[in-house]
Structures are given as C-alpha cells and as structure tokens.
C-alpha cells in the first residue's frame, strides 16, 4: 500500500474532505454537472523475448475515476488497484491514487490544487522540458506514459490573455524518480575491484525552503507556437559521491556510494511551426552548474560542476497517410569532459511512425530511439485493435540492443513481447 507514502496522508485527507464534503455542502449548485464514474480493467502481459516463461510485466489493473464538474469547478479522483504477477520491480499488490485534485477556472485564470501531473515540452518519447514530475522508471518506459509520470502534490496557476498563457507551478514536497535498481546501470563506474556499498539517499527535508517552483509562458504568434520555462527544483535523479571505507570486522576496504539530490535551476523553451506540409518542432533545456560524477567516485573530486544543454529538432510529416515524426536530440556538456563518466556529446535519433486503419479501429505504432555512438537502440512496435467501443487488444514488442551499460542497451532484460487487453466502462 504505497499511496499514503507518496501522497501524504494529511494532504490526501484534507483534499478528500474538502472536495467530497465541504464543497458539495457549501456550493451544491457547483456540482450540478453531476458526478461521472468511469475507468477500465486491463491486463498487461509482457513475456521476455529471451525467456518466454518469465515476464517483464504481468499485471492486472482496475482503474476508477471520479470526476465532478460544475460551471466553473471540477474535481477529479483517480485511483488504481494493481496486482503484479512479477514482483521483481514492484510489490504484488498496489493501491494507488495517481491524481486527486480540484480546479477552478475563471475567464482569464485557472487554478488547480492537488496531486497532479504537469506536462511541459513538445518532444515524443524524450523528457527535455517534461521535467516537473518525477518518473517511475522501474519498468523503464514500457507502461503507459500516464503511469510513468508520477503525479505530485502541487499548485498550478494559469493566467491567460489572448493567445498568451502564463503559468506558475509550486510543488511543496520533493519526490525522486523511481529507478529500477542496479539493472539500470545508473551507478557510477567502479573501476576498482573492491566491494560496492550504496547508502540510503540523502533527500532534502520537507520544508518550505526546499519546495520547487517554476513558471512557463506560452504563446502563439502567427504560425509560431512557442513556450519559455524556468524550473527551480531538486534533480529527480541522484548524484553519487563515493568514499573508501574499511569494514569494521575484516578491515577490508569497500567503496561506499552516497546518493544525494542536487538543487538545480533549469531554463527551457519549445516551438512548433507548420512549414508547407511539414510541422517543425524543437525544444531546448539548459541547466547550469550540474554536478556530474567523475570516473573515480572515491577520488578527492568525485563530482564536478558542468553546464548541461539538451535540445532536439524534429519534423512531422505524412507519407501514405502515415504520420511520421523524426527527432534529432543532442546532449552537450560544457568544458573538459575527459574525466567524466559520460561523453561531451550524446546524439540521439528517434523515429515514430503512426498509422490508423479500418476507421481508426486499428492503430499501428513504430517507435525507434537510437544513440549513434553506442549503437544503442530501443524499438517499440504495437498494433492496437478496437474490437468494440469498449474492448481493445494490443499486441507488440519492445526490443533493446546495445552496450550493457549504454543508455538503452542496459535495459536489454526488458526486451519483451507485449499483450494488453483493456475493457473500458462508465457508470
């Protein structure tokens, strides 16, 4: 039962009391739009490609959404009960509240308070400015995207004027990205032969001063659709600082890694514009003074400061009624990188092909994400067929290839066939 831990018992209880008791009693007319209850039950079965008897994901899920809306008020309570047949990465039973929030909208402003997902950015499959929420990467990006992004208790205020929108975000409690353990290969290199000990991470205290804040301004000028954003936050991924210690009993040395989270500021922006029959898209994110691990985590200089730039340029177009999106992304680290764990430049190319057939009953998706230098590749292919308006079957595969410690190759154990069955309902 992990939801109390992630939402915060106090926050959840207060919100539930307000939205389900105080608001309906105080303003019964605000709920005249009635309560909608809907959801789905689904089954996700992902047998491993190299061992069909074992699964990467074997999950049954029941989703229930409660949505109440009035003329200017809305609340949403989204709950999930999961049973995980494979509990390598997750507990057998999980009861989750991914989102619970209330919102109010006036003519020019909008406010939403509660546990929610906030999505920035314009990239497909890349998280460049989509940095507000931490991610659940225990199964990498195999689950549905809305389950990968972790909702956080936060307040979001938007103000609109014409085609311009200004948005402020306040997240009062830090949450880190969930990693899949040592399988991810996310740890710094251990060139020595001594044993490795990973200590509990040093997380920021839940204080007002440690809260996260950001803003975003987006607008439309002619055909240019663009945004600029800033986010003062804690990095969702840990940085490791190492030291050599001696075991008390044996006196043998060990490398002790201390994960910690860095306070960072990120500037970003995105644009899209149709040009003839092509849609151009781009996005950029810049983080100054990012702490990066060196190749010697136990050295006197286990981490150094570098500026970090990520961007992509992409184009969407149509061929034979298929929508094709190509993105070229690059990560650039400033200064000398010869003693870092990562290269100065990382080049990524993604290709997405989408096509619907049989009057949108059949949806075909091919997504390939490749890294030039490491020959890392992730291929995701899916065929989703709507048997009826409520029942959908999805068949496909995920293939990871490349170096064992590469960005994508490290997930080779997640290479799998996928079968999803989903039945949607409403009351």
């Amino acid at each position: 039962m992990s939801y109390f831990g992630t939402v915060g018992t106090g926050t959840l209880s207060l919100m539930a009391i307000y939205f389900f008791v105080i608001q309906p009693l105080a303003y019964p007319s605000s709920l005249q739009g009635a309560l909608l209850v809907n959801g789905f039950g689904d089954m996700n079965y992902f047998p491993r490609l190299d061992d069909l008897d074992n699964t990467v994901i074997n999950r049954q899920r029941l989703r229930l959404n409660f949505t109440g809306s009035g003329s200017s008020f809305q609340f949403k309570f989204w709950s999930e009960a999961l049973r995980n047949g494979n509990h390598s990465f997750r507990p057998e039973w999980e009861l989750l509240v991914p989102e619970v929030f209330g919102e109010y909208h006036g003519e020019s402003f909008f406010v939403r308070v509660g546990k929610q997902q906030i999505v920035w950015g314009a990239a497909d499959g890349l998280f460049i400015n989509d940095i507000v929420n931490p991610l659940d990467l225990r199964e990498f990006l195999l689950p549905d995207l809305e389950n990968v992004r972790l909702g956080q208790p936060s307040a979001r205020l938007q103000w609109r004027r014409g085609n311009w929108l200004a948005e402020g975000v306040w997240i009062w409690r830090f949450a880190e990205t969930k990693l899949p353990g040592t399988m991810a290969g996310a740890l710094p290199a251990n060139s020595s032969n001594i044993p490795l000990v990973i200590l509990d991470p040093q997380k920021p205290a839940h204080t007002l001063g440690n809260s996260e804040m950001g803003w975003r301004i987006s607008g439309l000028i002619g055909q240019w659709d663009f945004s600029v954003n800033f986010f003062r936050s804690w990095r969702d991924l840990p940085t490791y600082r190492g030291r050599i210690v001696l075991w008390e009993k044996s006196g043998a040395p060990a490398l002790e890694l201390i994960p910690f989270y860095q306070r960072i500021s990120t500037w970003g922006g995105s644009f899209s514009r149709p040009l003839g029959l092509i849609l151009l898209r781009g996005e950029l994110s810049y983080t100054p003074n990012l702490l990066l691990e060196t190749t010697e985590p136990a050295s006197p200089l286990p981490v150094i400061t570098r500026d970090f730039l990520t961007y992509f340029l992409g184009a969407d177009f149509r061929i034979k009624k298929a929508r094709i999106g190509i993105q070229f992304a690059q990560e650039v680290i400033s200064g000398d990188t010869s003693f870092l764990n990562r290269k100065k430049l990382d080049n990524v190319l993604t290709l997405m092909v989408e096509k619907t057939l049989i009057r949108e009953s059949l949806y075909c998706l091919l997504f390939a994400d490749g890294e030039f230098d490491h020959h890392d590749l992730w291929i995701r292919a899916e065929l989703a067929y709507r048997v009826s308006d409520r029942f959908k079957v999805t068949l496909g595969t995920h293939v990871f290839t490349g170096r064992q410690n590469g960005r994508l190759g490290r997930f080779h154990e997640l290479s799998s066939i996928l079968l999803k069955l989903r039945y949607s309902f409403s009351a």
């Binding site: 609109r160 085609n163 929108l165 149509r318 009057r359 409403s426």
Partner: protein
Amino acid sequence: MLKFPAQKSGNMYQSPYDRGLRTYPDHMKRKSQTASELAFLLLLVFLCSPLWPSMDTDNLKRSKLTAGDIMAEYHTQRNSRNERSRLTMKLMDSRYRERSRKLEQITITDSDGNQKMLIIVQEPEDIRGTAFLIVEHSQSDNDQWLYLPALRRVRRVLPNEKSDSFLGSDFSYTDLETENLDHYKYRLLGEDSLDGNHCWIIEARPADEKTLQETGYGKRELWIRSDNFVGLQTRFFDKKERPVKLFRALNVSAVNHSQKWRAYRLEMKNLESGHRTIILYENFKIDQGVPDWIFTRAYLERRK
C-alpha cells in the same frame, strides 16, 4: 442568371416573383377599359408601389444571386455568434455493424467573421476527453489542434492530415471546417428539387493546388436550399473527379429564437466502401453565450 425550374419544366416550382410579375399586370389590363379606370388603377399602383419591394425584394434579390453570393449566404446561415450542441455520431459499415461516439461541439464566430470550433469526445470511454480545436484565420491557414488524453499532449494536425478521417468517421477534418470562400471557385450549375425544396446546385473547385492537396477533393457539388440557404446535399469528388462521398442534411428546422436553420440529422456515405456516418444532434443552443477562452490551445493544455 438563375433559371427556375418552373420556367424550364413548368411543373416543379414557380416563384412568387414570377406569379406576381405576370398575373398582376394582365389582370389589370382586363379590368381597365376606360381612361378613368386606367387613371384610377395607375393611382392605385402608384399608392401601392412602396409595398412592392417588401413583397418581392427577397425573391428579386435571390433571382440575381451569383454562385459566390449564394455561398456567402450559405456561410452566413451556417455561422452564429456562438453555438453549443450535443451529438451522437454513428459509424456504420456496409454490413450495418455500428459504432457510436458522443461528442460536444461548441463554436463561436469572432467580430471578423472567423469561426472557432471545439469538439470534445464524451464517449467511447477509451478516447474520452480527446478534444479537437479549429481556429480560422482570414489571412492565413487555419490552425487545427488535437488533444490526446493518453499522451496528455496537444499536437497540431498536419496540413495534409486534414483530409484524414475524423474519429474514424466518413467526415474528414476538413469537412468540419467552415470553408474559406477565397480558397474555392464557385459556379452555379443549375437548380433542382430535393426533398420538396428548391435548391441551387453549386460547384466548388479548389482555387489553388494547396487547397486541393489539403482537402483531397477535386470538386464538390452542393445543393443549397433557396429559401434559407441550408446545404441539403453535397457530392464530393476526388482529385481525379470520381465521386467518393455523398453528404445529406435531413430533419432541417429553425432553431428557437435564433433565425438559424439546422439539420438534426446528417449523413455522410462513402461511395467506395459503403460505409456511412450518421450524426444525430440532440439539441442546439444558439447565441446563448459561450466563453471565448475555451477556444484556445491553453484550454486544451488545461485538460492535461
């Protein structure tokens, strides 16, 4: 000039204008044999002359309308200051297997006459919340955005994606747009009677290659009612001018207090596959107020 069917066949339609113009003077001639009677009649005609325009001005004007005028009137009739409706879209294949979608459609027309339209999917469950926004521009291409709840992302509809099926129906994205009259060349083909209504038949051809590529239609033939300018039927032809789709508007009636006419049942038939899409409107709320801020990309993003 227009040719009414009554003049061609004599048994289909006779306009009030024709009746008045021919019978009134003849009738007068039979009655006016003397000078005094003639003077009296002239006086009567003179005194009544201010009433003549009010009786037949509309018909007189209609008889002089060009194809462009008719399309402009058709455009005016379709547009309202704001409008909200709920509808059920039924998709039926040639074997009458049926799927349905429930939608909410909201439109607004700004002071420049540009229309904005928001369509929100209510059912089926797995695409609930999908929203489609069209923003017309008089000086540039229309913007079309699609909000996909599964991705929580707003993305633009590509220019040549506009000829694609909307939600699996026989309507394309471009069929939903109010057409920009400058992007087509119109020609009056003639007249016809459809469902007992006199109609003008207008041919619409793309004025440029870009419109042709975006819409995928080589031409269209529209049947437009002469009394209220409601489009009752459209035949769609592909780039090689082969007929591909047939649109019908049925159950046309005036919407209360709005002086606007709307069809409560629309049918679009794919002539190649036999697939049909039927749209049944539950209601129309015209000029009863719609907030303009919902027709923004920002509103779609709020749905995340």
